[in-house]
């Protein structure tokens, strides 16, 4: 079985030798084998190819000289000696005559190399019959665009999105425009391969090609209902396309960044579900469906990484009781204990609660709830309840930070989240507080009395921690260090806000909203005023309760 990774690979050529072929696009659980022999800062897909080649005993692999990472992936696998047939095709960056000639030579070289390897003869008829017919697809769809996605993410998206989903990344959009019958009259092999090279190079360009303007047709399709834009950490090509299209698209767009492993499936699921809710106008539908139900009490449970928050609300949208407790043990047991405490505070029993909606990371692990909705949609709902003028919600929680754009009804219009890195989250502050030997409460105000403007250059939590330790060793004043840390969080969060654009009024929610130093730093950095209220940390649970009520 021949494995390949790129749409410019001449797979039909292998059919000409009677060889079967398949795409190598598994998302591994980790990169342990790759990290032993390759640098960790290669792009995740490149590392996944190395990992697969080493772990699955792939014997025949053909790569394309796509980018610096793939060139090095070839070198590394070759050095490891695990493949009996390993080949890299030299793909030009332009489609001029010079380049087509050179690519024809590359294809002929590959053919010779494979002939030599197998001792088989190339069969023209088998080659010609391998070309798939061009497919025409119609009707509305959501497109997966950007850098290639693994089959696991593609399946997750297809399961969650209420429209047909088309994977238009990399091999997903492989399509050769060839008049197969015309090949009958081409006696000369070089001429035949020139036509083949032309068809391969004339495909919809990937971003690696020098001129990729033809890709605009991907975004201009009237059937496109939404875009899930995927980028891979340390693959730089597609971030630029995202930057170019994000403000021009008229359909909703969700940016997903992965390292091409399955390590952050939970976070990805949250984003995809929230996007799906946006697409289907869930908020409005739910409001309509449930407006007639008359009930007395509902509960919203926000099961976060750091705390479990509960809001009990009556039918007139009054908060009857609320509880914030640290999440300890399982999401289920924390939610159970917190709900009991909230019921006690409200002076009611469990049977008085007619409906429970859960949100947060642990939302799917809590049994007994009527529905679970992502914290993004719930935060928007809660923020709108607390202040209807709010259009931008900045939520910094324990393990992630997000910025949500909401409309005048409280519905989500767009959102962005931090990547897997902890920079700019509550966890970052927690670790820095530990390094300084302070409590989070002390951290929140100590930095307000700073004198020297210290810049913490490292965004990485691990590097920042060692930077803090070395600043302490230099006898720098603790308030100055904290001020530097607050500015570091503010810089990271401001980046997310700027990605959505500044739109008043601004509200900050999540546990970090209680940190006065960070709040001031964000206000200074963005030149805005943040609305903060005492219910800020309850915003997600509040939104969940509102959904339960509706």
């Amino acid at each position: 079985m021949m494995h390949y990774v790129c749409k410019y690979t001449p797979v039909e050529l292998f059919a000409g030798f009677g060889e079967k072929y398949t795409v190598l696009d598994d998302m591994p659980d980790n990169f342990d084998l790759s990290d032993r022999i390759a640098h960790p800062n290669l792009c995740g897909f490149g590392k996944s190819v190395i990992q697969s080649a080493l772990s699955k005993g792939i014997d025949k692999l053909v790569l394309v000289n796509c980018c610096d990472t793939m060139r090095r992936v070839y070198d590394i696998i070759k050095d490891s000696g695990t493949c009996s047939f390993l080949y890299m095709i030299d793909l030009p960056h332009k489609c001029g005559y010079c380049q087509k000639e050179a690519f024809t030579e590359s294809l002929l070289h590959l053919k010779s190399a494979y002939e030599k390897y197998t001792g088989k003869q190339f069969d023209r008829n088998a080659f010609k019959s391998a070309f798939p017919p061009l497919q025409r697809v119609s009707g509305p769809y959501v497109g997966i665009l950007g850098a290639r996605v693994g089959r696991e993410i593609e399946a997750m998206i297809k399961k969650s999105i209420p429209f047909p989903v088309r994977n238009l990344t990399c091999i997903g959009n492989r399509s050769l425009s060839m008049d197969i019958n015309a090949l009958e009259n081409v006696p000369d092999e070089k001429q035949l391969f020139m036509i083949y090279a032309d068809a391969l190079l004339s495909q919809l360009p990937c971003r690696r090609m020098n001129d990729s303007t033809a890709r605009r047709c991907l975004y201009a399709d009237p059937n496109l209902r939404g875009v899930i834009y995927h980028t891979i950490k340390f693959c730089d090509y597609y971030g630029f396309e995202y930057s170019e299209i994000k403000d021009k698209l008229t359909v909703p767009i969700l940016k997903l960044e992965t390292d091409y492993t399955r390590q952050s499936e939970g976070q990805l699921q949250t984003r995809i579900e929230a996007f799906s809710e946006t697409l289907s106008g869930l908020e409005n539908k739910k409001a309509k469906k449930r407006s007639s139900i008359k009930e007395h009490f509902v509960a919203g449970i926000d099961s976060g990484s750091a705390s479990t928050d509960i809001v009990i609300m009556d039918q007139n949208k009054n908060i009857v009781a609320s509880v914030i407790t640290p999440t300890g043990g399982s999401a289920q047991s924390s939610a159970g204990k917190s709900l009991d405490e909230a019921l006690h505070k409200a002076g009611i029993d469990r049977s008085s609660i007619s409906r429970i909606v859960t949100t947060g990371y642990g939302r799917s692990y809590i049994s007994g709830s009527d529905e679970s909705i992502t914290e993004i949609t719930c935060h928007a709902k809660g923020a709108h309840y607390l202040n209807p003028a709010v259009r931008t919600v900045i939520d910094i929680g324990g393990q992630d930070s997000k910025v949500i754009r909401i409309d005048e009804t409280g519905a989500v219009r767009n959102f962005v989240m931090n990547d897997k890195c902890a920079a700019g989250t509550g966890r970052f502050l927690e670790m820095m507080a530990r390094a300084l030997g302070l409590s989070l409460e002390e951290m929140s105000t100590l930095g307000l009395n700073w004198k020297e403007d210290i810049i913490i250059t490292s965004m990485c939590t691990v590097f920042a921690e060692s930077e803090v330790v070395s600043l302490v060793a230099q006898n720098k004043a603790v308030p100055d260090i904290i001020h530097g840390l607050n500015n570091s969080v503010a810089a990271k969060v401001s980046t997310l806000v700027n990605r959505l654009g500044l739109k008043e009024d601004f509200m900050m929610t999540g546990g970090v909203a209680k940190n006065t130093g960070v709040v001031h730093a964000i206000e200074d950095k963005l030149g805005i005023k943040l609305y903060i209220c005492k219910e800020a940390q309850l915003c997600g649970a509040l939104g969940a309760a509102l959904f339960a009520l509706e």
């Binding site: 610096d68 070198d75 030299d90 050179a102 950490k233 693959c235 590097f463």
Partner: protein, 422 residues
């Protein structure tokens, strides 16, 4: 008071509201620095290294002050046709290096992050894009670039060509080294020269190109001779001087300035004292801003860099009578083109030539070409008996480096080499 930090802070504050004002202020600062270079002349440096600091600064000043007569290029673009046409070529890496040296890079990095441009991309490219996007960098007349050595070029140049609305020429260099590839690239270089002629209204004649390539050939020959003297002698220097050498051997190659610099280097080293300090062969960018590396290697007779592979990557004989082929051969047979074998062989040659005790591969953040090959190169060099260190860091964005970790790694490596060979 730290003057550079204060000046950089002023630039950073001005950029969002008044980028043109920030540019004028920057230019004023660079002109003042140019005067300082002439007056104080960096007494610790030999004449050749003082000269090169001024020559490169002149290019940067011209690029900022007269963008209508400047072209943006990638580091491995042959610039002889541009200098023949009287155009100031400048590389984005050099401009970003200057901005980082002025300590105002953060405003540009933050801007690109806000635009959704990946933070994993090479920081030199991100700083430049930020400077262009915010309006600090003026629009050049045109751009010329190539895929050799760096994928970042394939992103940055098309992006900025579109953004600025200026014409560009791209030289597509095949990955495989062959005479067919040389002919293919030579054809493109002929086209590129015609493009430069059209852009400037000053045709690039083959006679003028022959002269320029002749200067390139003499420069390369002088530089190789200079490296031979490094085996016994040492010219005092700093990390920045190594990066200037890269600029001279690429962007200004073929100019009188570059030839003069190589001659001066050769004269200086002939007069330099014999030195038995540790000699390092450096692969990839030299992190001239990194405090720990500066402390260990700047003006240090006990350990110093003899040369860096970016400075010698295309040091092959050139036939000036066939200028397009000579330039094309330089690109195709550059050790940065193709698989890492080229870099390994070139490093072994240069280590022998300069008497290197060890090699350092600088795994610059975002440069997949080098970080991906680092382990392979290290293994091959060590098999040849050359101890090799892979040093992770960033050439211009301090937030991607841990200075303490770099100090430990490089310090321990030097201790290891000292114990072993001296």
């Amino acid at each position: 008071m730290d003057i550079i930090k204060t000046f950089g802070g002023m630039i950073e504050n001005m950029v969002p509201k008044n980028p043109m004002g920030a540019r004028r202020l920057l230019l004023m600062g660079y002109r003042a620095q140019r005067l300082a270079l002439s007056a104080l002349a960096g007494k610790k440096l030999p004449p050749s290294k003082r000269y090169v600091a001024r020559a490169v600064m002149d290019v940067i000043i011209r690029a900022l002050a007269h963008p209508e007569n400047a072209a943006m290029v990638s580091m491995f673009t042959p610039c002889e046709p541009l200098s023949v046409a009287g155009i100031t070529p400048y590389s984005i890496e050099t401009l970003s290096g200057y901005l980082s040296g002025t300590e105002c890079e953060k405003v540009f990095l933050d801007h690109t992050a806000g635009e959704g441009i990946p933070e994993t991309m090479c920081s030199f490219h991100r700083i430049f894009i930020g400077a262009a996007d915010t309006g600090l960098m003026p629009k050049p007349k045109f751009m010329v670039y190539t895929n050799v050595a760096c994928d970042g070029n394939m992103i940055t140049f098309p992006y900025l060509s579109h953004k600025y609305g200026i014409p560009s020429y791209f030289i597509d260099v095949p990955y495989e080294k062959s005479e067919d590839a040389v002919q293919n690239v030579a054809k493109q270089l002929k086209e590129m020269s015609a493009f430069v002629g059209d852009m400037t209204g000053r045709p690039v004649t083959e006679d003028a190109l022959r002269e320029a390539v002749g200067r390139s050939a003499r420069t390369v020959s002088n530089y190789i001779n200079y490296l031979g003297y490094q085996k016994e002698r040492r010219l005092p220097g700093d990390l920045t001087s190594e990066m200037y050498a890269v600029f001279m051997n690429h962007i200004l190659l073929g100019t009188k300035e570059s030839e003069k610099y190589s001659r001066m280097l050769l004269d200086d080293i002939k007069k330099a004292p014999i030195n038995s300090g540790l000699r390092l062969l450096w692969l990839h960018l030299v992190p001239y801003m990194q405090p720990s590396v500066k402390k260990l290697l700047n003006f240090n007779g006990k350990a110093f860099i003899t040369t860096c592979d970016l400075a010698y990557e295309s040091m092959i004989p050139m036939d000036e009578s066939r200028p397009y082929e000579a330039m094309a051969r330089r690109m195709v047979y550059s050790c940065y083109n193709g698989n890492p074998k080229g870099r390994i062989l070139q490093a072994i040659n240069m280590a022998k030539r300069t008497g290197a005790d060890g090699a350092v591969i600088f795994a610059h953040w975002g440069c997949k070409a080098t970080i991906g090959a680092a382990q392979i190169i290290k293994k091959a060099l060590e098999n040849e008996g050359l101890p090799t260190l892979i040093l992770d860091g960033d050439g211009c964005d301090p937030s991607n480096s841990s200075d303490g970790q770099i100090a430990t790694r490089l310090g321990a490596f030097l201790e290891m080499l000292g114990g072993k060979s001296k």
